[in-house]
Subunit: 521 residues, 2 copies
């Protein structure tokens, strides 16, 4: 209502101004009807765009990153202009941007599928492993007409979904239906698709962990729903308590919110915890009892760094509890961007959808159809990560060495950075049991908080900005993920190359000591 | 309001039923608060999902295609079970699914970028052209860290945007700013992004041609806006009349609709017309005078089949009229899926955005950021199609032969199918001057219309279904695109391989004669 009133005011204010801007087409502006109408009402400004877009925030690529990009430009234009030589982007889980190499087997298969005439050439055998060649043939044979450049089935190529379903079944020990798989351009579009399906208005709520990965808050804002927060317990290693879920659900319902779904990120982002099986069973029962869709973000399923924890998919948990397809609506998100593969730029991923009735599935299919299909290279890669080389395959040894090399260096980096954060005055940092991040808690001095306030910044944002200016290290303020009010955090990836970690740690320590001295209460 | 009432009723009806479904977790179901709450309100059914999703329709992959897939399955299971050997998918502009081969140079570069270690091997020179190798190096050199597996800048890799901007400038003769380019997973996500930005409620309207490509109606429905139709004039070869635009705009405004944008598809889909330059100037002035964003779907810019027509981008037209960046908000959509390349499965494309203020651009950037980036192979391919081999490059001759071969066979197919449709009793078909479709008008006998009504089908849907059952040819009923009420059409791609066209034409003619005889009034 208010918006329309504003538009009317603008029309009165700017109508004559616009009319005097001499439209070049005489035949058009001579129309009396056009003169009576007011074009200003539709002119695109931040006041007239979709307010949901305005509301949406995405800290992982927010202000701090724009500032880092400016510094990088300055370093390029004038080397030595800052007290560091390079920007270290620890703001986003983007392994290959920090030097992680792609897995050879996967890239061999992708290259062969991109240019199938290679398969007929004798030189190819000198350049590619035999099982990559065999796999490329297998994949081409399941693509209708071997046309890797054709739109595929809206859910993705059936033969690739078969391979993924077999991979899930291997992982979980329970059967998987390839028709439950929707291949997508990474996990993000899949999350958007589910939010689009579930959210009707701001009266629909989605339970999300706090801290959360800001894709969820951004997607809920874009689709006009309400984020219903539940807090993870930092003191128990970011524990997920059912009593907290229950409390927040009831609180939301008492406010008239219809809660549609529960988002669980396991392993956690930004929090790095790996859920225990018993905890997962409780979560499944909670969703079942409360009629919630379980949105299981399982993109870090391969990233586990501690011996006493193991990834269990929610699909496996529900099936092992005896629940079948009619009991719990469950969506599991997986991506080629994470794991040991880290193929963010390929934009591959899938969601496995179970527990929805046929009519609803038809609607999901329709929405997928409007986008035609996800990119076929990403589809192929998703089939590869869910069905990698096996013992006996020519590539197996080297593949396994690459995989284990990446995962073990990530584990060492996680531990080294965790220890470094814990060695800082006033900082405590939970272990990264999994995923790619540390989320240390900063007990900032009152003077620092006041200094932040004076420049109109959140205290953790102020800390992150000072850290960047002093060291070139980019971390994301905890306020971008949500945190218990009055606590301050930053998210830092564990992804810089291992040989750089000691220097990063010294820079971090030196900065933190100086910062603490400067603002000591 | 009504929905909430329905939910209350369900709560009363199903509350006890759900409670009796024995939740396995005793600790949860013993909570009295939980018993008082009602989970049924959130349960996902077609009655409780987002009604915008329900409303959205996408005929290009709709019912007729599902039926075709069933027939294909039946043919596979029982060869000879239908009066044809194969299904001919003429429903969608998907060239490679019908046998078009990818352009060699493009695929060579993609394969090398997928597996850069190839570039260091001597055997590679026997397998790849020298300029593909050089181009792969050039591309890798503009990708930070040569990491083709990293998330890129949210708008796409800067160096690739530079190449695209140079390509646009070459095409148009006017400078292009690489910061105006947003690389996307095909044109569809770019269209969605703009609809998301512009549409606030059903009081916001988007002027769309009728007939239109149903992505527009689907996207407007998903984002909750209003499609404001303007009719193309079939009798003047699908002419776009400014008087019609004006009439529909005024009509919409009189109903309280704020019209935000005008969609123009040039060359037309499904209508195949190529706009004349003078017409484009009128359209630009119309948008300028009326304060509309011009959404220019230019994905068929390479698909022109007649000598007397030429593609002019709206960017070129506006600049040649002397308009600069502040005059007309213009978005040009381009895709790697069409043209002579036809790389639908690669999901590459871009939008070039000019005429928006800095604040609005920041919002567009933010929305792009939430999706991280488009797939890097698609980005590379978009840079290649906008900057293909030039005279003097090793691949130039063969590249040019492939390109011209594809475009000239498409022109011959368009003409042959147009003539065939025009030879049918009661059918008239405009020329496909460009794009990939024919959209013949069917004057169906009253008896056929009555027969359609009897099975609850639209007459053109009835015709398309009978055509499919008799011949295996899949076309899309005109009702999926919109048409003047009381007229009937089908959309048929010009994409079947040339050697199949004579057989298709005989089948089409035989079917149409039989159909006409069966239903002759």
């Amino acid at each position: 209502m208010r918006r329309f009133a504003t538009e009317r005011v603008k029309r009165l204010l700017f109508g004559s101004l616009l009319a005097s801007r001499s439209p070049p087409s005489a035949s058009l502006c001579s129309s009396p009807a056009a003169a009576a109408m007011d074009p200003a009402a539709g002119v695109v400004t931040v006041d007239t765009i979709n307010p949901k877009v305005l509301k949406c925030e995405y800290a992982v690529r927010g202000e701090i990153v724009s500032h880092a990009q400016r510094l990088q430009q300055e370093l390029q234009n004038k080397p030595g202009s800052h007290p560091f030589d390079e920007i270290l982007y620890c703001n986003i889980g983007n392994p290959q941007s920090l030097g992680q190499q792609p897995v050879t087997f996967f890239r061999e298969v992708l290259a062969l599928c991109d240019h199938p005439p290679l398969l007929d050439k004798s030189e190819t055998h000198a350049l590619f492993s035999a099982d990559a060649i065999a796999r490329a043939w297998q994949i081409l044979d399941v693509i209708p007409g071997r046309a890797t450049g054709a739109y595929s089935h809206s859910q993705g190529i059936k033969g690739l979904r078969d391979a993924i379903a077999a991979g899930i079944a291997d992982r979980d020990g329970f059967p998987t239906n390839p028709d439950d798989i929707f291949l997508t351009d990474g996990a993000s579009p899949a999350v958007h698709m589910m939010m689009q399906l579930l959210i009707r208005s701001e009266k629909d709520g989605i339970l999300c962990p706090i801290p959360q990965y800001p894709l969820y808050s951004a997607s809920i804002a874009l689709h006009g729903g309400s984020l219903v927060p539940y807090y993870l317990d930092e003191s128990t290693g970011w524990g997920l308590e059912i009593s907290e879920l229950k409390k927040q659900l009831e609180d939301a319902r008492s406010k008239g919110i219809t809660v549609r779904a529960l988002v669980v990120i396991n392993p956690g982002n930004p929090t790095g915890q790996v859920l225990a099986e018993e905890n997962q069973r409780e979560i499944v029962n909670f969703c079942k009892n409360e009629g919630l869709v379980l949105l299981a973000d399982e993109v870090y399923q391969e990233n586990i760094y501690v011996d006493d924890k193991k990834f269990n998919s929610f699909k496996k948990i529900t099936r092992s509890m005896g629940y079948g397809d009619d009991d719990v609506p469950l969506v599991s998100f997986q991506s080629v961007s994470k794991g040991y593969y880290g193929e963010c730029g390929k934009r591959g991923g899938y969601m496995e959808i179970t527990g929805f009735n046929a009519e609803v599935r038809e609607q999901i299919y329709k929405v997928a159809s409007v986008n035609l299909c996800s990119n076929v290279s990403g589809q192929i890669l998703a089939s590869l990560v869910m069905n990698p080389p096996k013992v006996g395959d020519e590539s197996y040894e080297s593949f396994n060495a690459e995989k284990n090399g990446i995962l073990s260096t990530l584990a060492r980096r996680a531990k080294a950075l965790e220890d470094a954060f814990n060695s800082l005055e006033g900082v405590t940092c939970n272990k990264a049991e999994g995923a790619m991040y540390l989320f240390p808690c900063l007990r900032l001095p009152q003077k620092a908080i006041a200094a932040a306030k004076a420049v109109n910044a959140a205290p953790d944002g102020f800390y992150a900005r000072r850290l960047l200016d002093a060291t070139g290290i980019v971390v994301v303020p905890g306020s971008g993920f949500g945190q218990v009010p009055g606590t301050w955090h930053v998210r830092c990836t564990i992804l810089p190359q291992e040989d750089k970690i000691p220097a990063i740690i010294s820079r971090l320590k030196a900065f933190h000591e100086a910062f603490t001295e400067e603002f000591r209460d």
